[in-house]
């Protein structure tokens, strides 16, 4: 059902864990739907110097979290904001259609974490463009 890349990220998740006193955190999803993703950001001079995730969810949810955190690590917040769910899914070399929503969750979790950072720092929250590819 999942390709090797997805299984690799599921079984050996990168950046799994929590960051105490993170500069920004974002939690999306809900247990009822079977997916919760929480992203922790460490930000220095607008650059994401560290990122961790915690995920309750299926293989695709874990793999998407893992991949998404890899993709934004070391990037500026503006770059990280641009990460689309599609890019996450592509980096994973594809997800089953019914699992694409997991990559959306990752995008949303990152956005939430970034805006958490921004509002904490007195900046305006960026606005969602709402163009997820399902």
């Amino acid at each position: 059902m999942y390709n090797e890349k997805v299984m690799d990220h599921f079984e050996h998740p990168r950046n799994q864990g929590a960051i105490e006193a993170a500069d920004g955190t974002g939690e999306v999803g809900n247990a009822q739907c079977g997916d919760i993703m929480k992203i922790y950001l460490k930000v220095e001079a607008d650059v994401i110097t560290d990122v961790k995730f915690q995920t309750f969810g299926c293989g695709a949810a874990v793999a998407s979290s893992s991949m998404a955190t890899e993709l934004i690590k070391g990037r500026t917040l503006a770059e990280a904001w641009e990460l689309s769910n599609k890019a996450v899914a592509e980096a994973l070399e594809g997800l089953p259609p019914q699992k694409l929503h997991c990559s959306v969750l990752a995008e949303e979790a990152i956005h939430t974490a970034i805006n958490d950072y921004r509002t904490k720092h007195g900046l305006e929250a960026w606005e969602e463009t709402g163009s997820h590819t399902h």
């Binding site: 079984e11 809900n30 079977g34 929480k38 299926c58």
Partner: protein, 406 residues
């Protein structure tokens, strides 16, 4: 991660391997005795006799007469036939059907379709063990009621329903009673007479028989429309060239299953209870289904804070085959309606794990599974944002997941 390449199949409720002797018994009817049983030349004789021998075997396994056994392509067909067949045959008499909320989709989706065709269906609730209350069945009967269908044993949580009581109520009110015994036949004693059953579904691949085979028991005097219209096979009630090899396999498999049933059930019950105890030792873990009115081979538990598909994927790396009621692993993306009906909250349903044992399961397998599940659950709890701190593992390094503290 454990790299032991042991294979432990604990998904016998999903399907079972065809016994080698069953497969062997089928072969001659594929290549040699391949004649159409309804033909009158000699070549057809062997197939015809094999068909009737299989019918006797299935009948004997459920306390029926051979002529009351009709072969089908599986449990799903038997269920669809029983429900649609009775509904269409009796629609002049009434249009009300009684069922439960924990039926297999072969029953529930058929009921939903019948609702679209103008029938009305009562879905009886269950208690937290997944058990239907016979008093609810009786209370639901109206003059319009044409059929009661309640399964004999639940495929997810293993709960054995009070079928005898429901059968007696159906009889008392002159309403037909169907039971989906797909998980029961070959596993627990079934007698259509004692249980007052009018229609009973069974499926070959659930007791080491071939896939794509099943049967519907139709009691005396029961009228139902065919689901398969066409040729005059199965005394005109189920059309289609008979799957003779499959039927031969079904017959042999049910005989073998019933012969070993009592002995097997005793052994499996002990293993089941050992497995259950081992799993319940994991904190925040709960048993689903009835504690003892359950199938001898069924264990179903929920682990809080984690999700079932992830559990399965990791167990797979231990060579363990199991199943879950999590939405994420179902193609429909709905969580188990059975667990929901037992009153489990959504989020907990996602953390369910079903392990169903079989003949070849050993105590060593059970212990191996307990150890593996413990590791897997801990690993996933370490990853979950929901896990309370006291349940998180403190270990660092190795293949274990470690919590980053900065």
């Amino acid at each position: 991660m454990n790299t032991d390449k042991r294979l432990v199949y604990m998904d016998h409720a999903a399907t079972t391997a065809t016994r080698p002797e069953v497969a062997e018994a089928m072969l001659p009817y594929m290549t040699g005795h391949f004649g159409n049983p309804s033909s009158l030349y000699d070549l057809a004789k062997a197939s015809r006799e094999a068909l009737e021998e299989a019918r006797e075997r299935v009948a004997a396994a459920i306390g029926a007469e051979p002529k009351q056994v009709y072969f089908t392509s599986g449990g799903t067909e038997s269920d669809n036939w029983a429900l649609k067949g009775v509904a269409f045959a009796k629609k002049e008499k009434g249009s009300h059907i009684i069922t439960s909320v924990v039926e297999h989709h072969a029953i529930s989706h058929t009921c939903e379709w019948l609702e679209k065709q103008g029938f009305s269906v009562t879905y009886l609730p269950v208690d937290r063990f997944g058990m239907v209350n016979p008093a609810d069945v009786e209370a639901a009967i109206t003059p319009e009621t044409i059929l009661i269908t309640v399964m004999m044993a639940n495929n997810e949580v293993g709960t054995i329903q009070p079928v005898a009581e429901i059968g007696a109520i159906a009889k008392k009110h002159g309403v037909l009673f169907h039971t989906d015994a797909v998980q029961a036949v070959g596993h627990i004693p079934v007698d259509v007479g004692e249980l007052n059953i009018d229609l009973l579904s069974l499926s070959g691949h659930k007791f080491h028989g071939p896939k794509g085979t099943g049967a519907l028991y139709i009691g005396p005097g029961v009228r139902l429309d065919p689901l398969m219209h066409g040729g005059a096979q199965e005394r005109g009630r189920r059309a289609g060239t008979e799957n003779v090899p499959g039927i031969v396999g079904l017959g042999l498999a049910v005989s073998l299953a019933v012969a070993d049933m009592a002995e097997n059930a005793e052994r499996l019950t002990a293993l089941r209870d050992r497995l259950t105890a081992g799993l319940l030792a994991i904190p925040h873990t709960y048993l689903n289904g009835h504690p003892d009115k359950r199938l001898p081979n069924n264990v179903n538990v929920v682990f809080e804070f984690i999700e079932g598909e992830s559990i399965l994927l990791l167990l797979n790396r231990y060579g363990i085959a199991a199943s879950t009621g999590s939405a994420c692993s179902s193609r429909s993306l709905d969580p188990s309606h059975v667990l929901m009906a037992c009153g489990l909250p959504h989020e907990v349903v996602h953390g369910s794990l079903r392990l169903t044992l079989g003949e070849e399961t050993t105590e060593a397998d059970v212990d191996y599974v307990i150890a593996a599940v413990k590791e897997v659950v801990q690993r996933l709890r370490d990853m979950s944002p929901l896990t309370p701190p006291e349940l998180r593992s403190q270990s660092i390094g190795g293949d274990k997941i470690c919590i980053t503290r900065r």
